[in-house]
Symmetry: C2
DNA sequence: TAGATTGTTAATCGATTAACAATC
DNA sequence: TAGATTGTTAATCGATTAACAATC
């Protein structure tokens, strides 16, 4: 229990290692070295070694890392080896897309239902999932022991709906709105901040156009 | 031209300041201090001062910052004061949601059309935008002088479609796939990495459940 | 004026990178 | 064995925070 807690940055890199080694495994590879990973993803090999060590993966000198072990340990470290149920709050454009997006399956996240307060939407079924009355969020959360909720409502009501989620028993909010949420201690919020991402893209495109052709190319993919 | 280039981190914070001061302005405020911003968003007041300075905003001792000036300078610094045309490649669930999502208007990004290679989708119109044949991407990009493309195709074809985008003249790819894209120098890639975001959320929820109740609450919203 | 607040330089902190010893 | 690669400790680098001078 004296292990140093992993840094947010390292945590953000783990899924990329996981995805890459799964691809390598699909092509028949069984072991991989840090140098190889670093060539594919960028970043210093030592950094990758530290990240893997933090997730509990150990390699063998001269051999490298067993790909199966990376997959097993990293998946388990992230809690992605068994399925986690979650709910979606907000069945607008963005919300419904998140409902239909298959990509989340890979991460072991299963949306059991969507919630909205629009009577026109309540009762409908989209991508095989029911849209339920927001009022019933607490019932379902308690009954199915849900911990995670994705928030995808209009910005104007984000704060209020987040409060409702917390009162309903949600412990982790995956926030797809641009609003900074104020939640009580014990509740975690992780925001997908599209505006921040676009700011980085706009700025880099602008510097590029201004003739920063000599600068090193950096791909933060 | 000797200005220190702004850090990625600072860049990511700017949209949050922008959003908050716009909200304050809507409530009739005309000036704001760093301390106030820091109380609302978290983070050290000095950091906010440096971020604003990097975007060209100057305040006045004892007074604070003119909200109108923050809005004007930060918007212009990010290039969000005039509309930029962009295209969307990939008209699946996620792609269509991004097409319909109104939130991007605020950032001055206007999607002029979507592209796909599925004959069943080509020619259809969604959210008022046409879905065109992927083959015609180059034509439109050239004709309308488009620089930015959003990539929202299945992971399996992401690399190939990215190559097509680059060949078509796209200079900045906003990447919504989990794939690390390899692009030539001069092309910028910014990825919205949902897996990374979920990794952070999963991990924080897990540490919370393990009884890390004494730890400081951190909201990365 | 006195106090609040900005602007800027210096100190701290943490993440990344480099160096090198251990080892299959 | 010799060389490649991991694991780990030390050095570097950059971002954040603290201190303090300038000023409305």
């Amino acid at each position: 229990m004296t292990e140093t807690p992993i840094s947010i940055q390292a945590l953000r890199r783990l899924p990329q290692y996981l995805r890459l080694v799964k691809a390598l495994r699909a092509r028949g590879r069984e072991v991989v070295s840090c140098r190889r990973l670093s060539e594919e993803l960028g970043g210093d090999p030592t950094l990758i070694r530290k990240d893997l060590a933090a997730a509990g993966v150990t390699g063998r000198p001269k051999i490298g890392y067993q790909i199966d072990e990376i997959v097993a340990r990293v998946s388990s470290f992230l809690g992605w080896n068994n399925t986690t149920d979650a709910v979606l709050v907000g069945a607008g454009n963005l919300g419904l897309a998140l409902l239909g997006y298959e990509g989340f399956r890979e991460y072991g996240l299963n949306i059991v239902a969507a919630f909205d307060n629009d009577p026109a939407k309540i009762g409908r079924q989209v991508h095989g999932k029911f849209i339920l009355d927001q009022e019933k969020l607490g019932d379902l959360v308690e009954r199915m022991h849900i911990h995670i909720g994705r928030l995808a409502v209009p910005a104007a009501v984000a704060a209020d709906v987040a409060t409702l989620m917390v009162l309903s028993g949600i412990q982790a909010i995956w926030n797809f709105t641009p609003v900074k949420l104020d939640v009580p201690q014990g509740v975690v919020v992780e925001s997908v901040n599209l505006a921040s991402s676009l700011a980085v893209l706009s700025n880099r495109l602008a510097s590029m156009d201004l003739g920063e052709k000599g600068g090193p190319y950096v791909n933060h993919g």
